[in-house]
């Protein structure tokens, strides 16, 4: 069973690489959807495990919430926000895509060295899952930095939260239920707020290039 989780964690890491290698905004949202679907799958398996062994239903509820929120609702919200804005493909990057992907690879190695030096975390297997999950967090952060359009920052933030969520799941077999629910509500509100702001920015600035937002300096 733990081998299955290893594989799932690797596939989730893979989807974040695919995200970085993408250029089209619709693909960002689609890749995020696929990643959330895999996370929901992992949560579901963990939920079934916890029901049969301990009778706790909360992990399954969490899985259901993930499916509703991250797989269905939030991508729909983002697509709707985005249909009003004209930019569909990102054309300029700071560095080109292969280098970005290689940097992400470097981030995974970096995470490995950081976590491997902590003894007590690794009970052998969990090491792999935690490293993959924390790498997803790092890659989400890197994605936020490397994109110039506002939608990139929103998706990066969502991937960051995804990564944190699976770290919690793999490392601790699920956080206390109320904390999980709180995280979801926070994240949903944050995304809604960001969506509204992208709209207003596009309205006021006529562009969603974040590096045009540079008037406040010093």
């Amino acid at each position: 069973m733990s081998g299955l989780f290893d594989t799932l964690s690797v596939i989730i890491l893979l989807t974040s690489f695919v995200l970085v290698a993408n250029k089209r905004i619709k693909s960002y949202i689609k890749t995020f959807r696929i990643q959330s679907a895999f996370i929901a799958l992992a949560a579901g398996i963990m939920g079934i495990q916890s029901i049969t062994s301990e009778g706790r239903i909360d992990v399954l509820v969490v899985c259901f919430v993930i499916v509703v929120l991250k797989v269905i609702y939030i991508p729909k919200l983002l697509n709707r926000t985005y249909s009003g804005v004209e930019y569909k493909v990102e054309k300029d990057f700071i560095l080109n895509i292969p280098i970005l992907v290689l940097i992400c690879c470097g981030l995974v190695v970096f995470t490995h060295f950081c976590i491997a030096s902590i003894d007590g975390i690794s009970q052998g297997y969990n090491d792999l899952q935690i490293i993959n999950s924390v790498s997803v967090v790092m890659i989400g952060l890197f994605f936020m930095i490397s994109r110039k359009k506002a939608i990139g920052q929103i998706i990066g933030f969502l991937v960051l939260e995804n990564g944190i969520f699976i770290t919690a799941m793999f490392a601790t077999d699920g956080m206390p239920f109320i904390v999980d629910m709180g995280i979801f509500i926070d994240m949903l509100t944050a995304v809604m707020i960001m969506g509204i702001m992208v709209y207003q920015i596009s309205d006021k600035f006529d562009t969603i290039n974040i590096d045009k937002l540079n008037k406040l300096k010093g």
Partner: protein, 490 residues
Amino acid sequence: MGFLLLVIPLISVLLFFLVKKRLFLHVISLTASGLMMMIALPLTGDVIAKGTVEYAHYGGFFYLDSLSIIVLDIVLLIGFFAAIYSVQYLEVDVRRGKLDFGKVRLYYILMQLFLFTMILALTVKNMGIMWIAIEATTLASVFLVGFHNDRYALEAAWKYVIICSVGIAVAMLGIIFLHLSSIGVLESRELLQWTALMENAGRLNDSTARLAFIFILVGFGTKAGLAPMHTWLPDAHSQAPAPISALLSGVLLNSAMYGIIRMAAVVNKSLGSSIYTGRLLMAMGMLSIVIAAVFILTQKDYKRLLAYSSIEHMGIIAVAIGFFTPLSLFGGLLHMINHSLTKSMLFLCSGSLLQKFETKQIPRIKGVLKMLPFSGTAFLFGLFAIAGMPPFSVFASELGILMSVFNEGSYIIGAVLAILFVIVFAGIATAMFRIFYGSNENKDLEPGEENIPGTLIIMTLLVIIGITGLWMPDPIIELIHQAQSIISGV
């Protein structure tokens, strides 16, 4: 009774949706804040007498000890003052046609929600729920920061939401690691509870606790404005409306610092010594003070200058907490109180300035003392106060912290701190003092205060910070001592 503190803001939000006239909005807001302040007094008395206030309902999540009650009192007091100030502030803007009923209602709803989330963060003992509340404070205040809805405000709000959300997400990682470090040590019903963590601190996994501290420091430090994660702060605090800036600077930064203090207490007890956390806190604190000093010297916008001053003072508090001796902890807590009162007063004054002169640029303002006799004078004295001049309260706490540093024999750190204080004072002086003299060339502006109740509040605050610089009532000193011993874990 403590539950009323949580329920009142929610009820007032509901009521805001129901009323149709602006007058009622102001009335509801004032009543709510006033009620909350009145509830704070018996609660404080309870905490001084019994040490903690805990209710067993709903799983026993409600918990107040001396540390929480100090920060909570500041929240409620300044919330009350800001509510009074807001009334006339908003009315002036409505009269000038910049706001309508819907916006005023939005303002009040968000302000009450903002207060609710901060109160929630301070009254729970589960670190996970505390995290949720602190994240919620960001979300509740985003649209308050972007309230004026022009390009600058929008840019500030976007930076605010992105940077703080990322910071808070990193803090979540820290909380996960904290949870990891306590597996096998705590029972499942007490997971992530601060009291249980303090009790069992010796048995927590050391290296995971260290990792947890770093992440939480970076995460909550983003919200608290510690460098190098401070970049959102000058924008957000300068673009928000004045009473909201007062709340953000005076209250929200404290709440984030509160999270860091709780975490530092646990980790220090677990590791047995404060060297690890101390080094990190002091490094970030010193960096914040240095950056703030540098940027203050060249500021042209007075609200941004006040924001940088907040960064500096948060840095001072971080250094005090990092030092972790009883004297420095006392000084740090005292500084939290003093800074909040002084900074809120300054921001409220800046609101009056903004409404009178309609510009944020220092070079364009002259003759403040003639134009705004009361708020202008308070502003002048307030600038003296925040720069650390006696007899005001900030001087007392800064002196306390400096003395505690020198007591331990860290002469270099003490000397560097003293030099930085002087630089900041010089910076504020050169930047600001020329606005007070001379006379205003714009003949259309008449001298006189526009916001009478607000000016009263400002004078009240001025008097408070003047008196507390010389004498603090004994119960408060007792309270701070109790809080300091809670943090030291004895």
